[in-house]
């Protein structure tokens, strides 16, 4: 394995994880808000559906994605003429990563929204702020640590995603081969332990870096209140 290959593997991993998180974050905030504050028919079922990827074997999620979003799948074949292709593409890996990380993101954000003092929101409303303004200026800033934690959990999950990814988009170097897939490939071939160990260490460093970054983000945005 050359240095170029290694950089490529890390670039694919980061691209997949970052896009997976970026696309699903707004949706996760909306879902968390609906679950924390909403009262609607079928909420329990909706809650269960959101959590499904957390409890299902990842290979089942991958197989479902393949059946739905594959070239011949009912959704995949509709999207293909529009130029949106997931099969064998890094976008498919990002989709798998996003779905696997989604429940983690929603859980963290929902807990944070639950913990926001509703009296503050009511006070903002009495001062004339609309619902959207209350959400963006009161609820979201107060729930910020939960949003960051959720995004980080999802990012870490995306970096580690294996089963759904390999089932859905295969293991193509430079396109869908993320760190875990590359490590797996090396462990399957005698005499390539060195590369597997090397990539494993890189993966530990990457995860530690993500943790440190999220810690920094939470602290920066939220000076500790005096009474806490």
């Amino acid at each position: 394995m050359t240095g170029r290959d290694e950089r490529e593997i890390i670039a694919v991993s980061l691209k997949v994880a970052l896009w997976g998180v970026a696309w699903s974050l707004p949706l996760a905030v909306a879902t968390a808000l609906a679950l924390a504050r909403g009262r609607f028919f079928g909420k329990t079922l909706f809650d269960a559906a959101v959590h499904l990827p957390l409890v299902l074997p990842p290979v089942v999620v991958g197989f479902a994605l393949l059946a739905l979003f594959g070239r011949r799948g009912p959704i995949g074949s509709l999207l293909e003429p529009l130029g949106i292709v997931f099969a064998f593409r890094w976008t498919g890996a990002a989709l798998a990563a996003a779905i696997m990380g989604f429940p983690l993101m929603v859980r963290a954000i929902r807990l944070a929204i639950d913990a926001v003092d509703r009296r503050l929101e009511v006070a903002a409303r009495t001062l004339g702020a609309g619902r959207a303004r209350v959400f963006f200026t009161v609820t979201l800033p107060l729930a910020w640590p939960g949003v960051v934690t959720g995004a980080l959990l999802a990012f870490a999950r995306a970096l580690g995603e294996f089963g759904a990814t390999i089932t859905f988009v295969s293991n193509i170097p430079g396109e869908t081969q993320t760190l875990p897939l590359a490590i797996y490939t090396f462990t399957q071939t005698p005499g390539q332990d060195g590369e597997a160990v090397h990539l494993s260490i890189l993966s530990v460093l990457l995860s530690l870096g993500a943790l440190a970054l999220s810690e920094w983000l939470v602290r920066r945005r939220l000076p500790r209140p005096a009474h806490a």
Binding site: R72, F88, S170, N171, I172, Q188, T189, P190
Partner: protein, 249 residues
Amino acid sequence: MRRILALFACVAAATLARADTITVFAAASLGEALEAVVKPFEAATGHRVVVSYAGSNALARQIEAGAPATLFISADVDWADHVEQRGLAVPGTRRDLLGNDLVLVAPAASNASVRIAPGFDLAHALGDGRLALANPDAVPAGKYAKAALVSLGAWAGVEKRIAPAENVRAALALVSRGEAPLGIVYRTDAMADKGVRVVGLFPEASHPAIVYPMVELRGATPATHALAAHLGSPAARATWQRFGFRVIE
């Protein structure tokens, strides 16, 4: 006469009493054929044969790590050599069991037509799809496929367009499911899957001869030995051939 009968009974009893479980590591492409060959052996001896199928590289790797298999059937010479060189095989038990061919396949519903010849334009035939094959760096079917494409001058055109799979059956599934428009697998794989259609046969001279060496591994029992003998016996030959394998004498 009575003495001979008694001896025979003793031997039969001893054989019956020792119903072993034999763990076999076999190349993924052997799938259904090996099951069919093993069935009469199990019925006749009472032994239970458990087969683990994977790419030969992954199996060699697991044998190296101490997997409890006692018989290894690799899809190429290299991985059998690898296991032997590390002293994991029983010396003198290796024999070349089967031969196979390499084919280009397309989904059954596709009307792709490709003529395999030196300098043929495989990239064009792929359109914007990918060529499914087993990992060309490690898995035998992928190594043969790469060798064939290299010798026909078609590798450079598709090198960036492949979808490498864990083993040849995974590559077959990609084509069968229609995710990949073309793939390279063994002729026997194409015969085993109604979802694919053979588009062309790679000339034998374009790749190293496809040979399945079989070797007994450390920990082999008399039951392992009996199974190995059965797999190479004239009785098994017809079954191997029914699944499209060439039997090596």
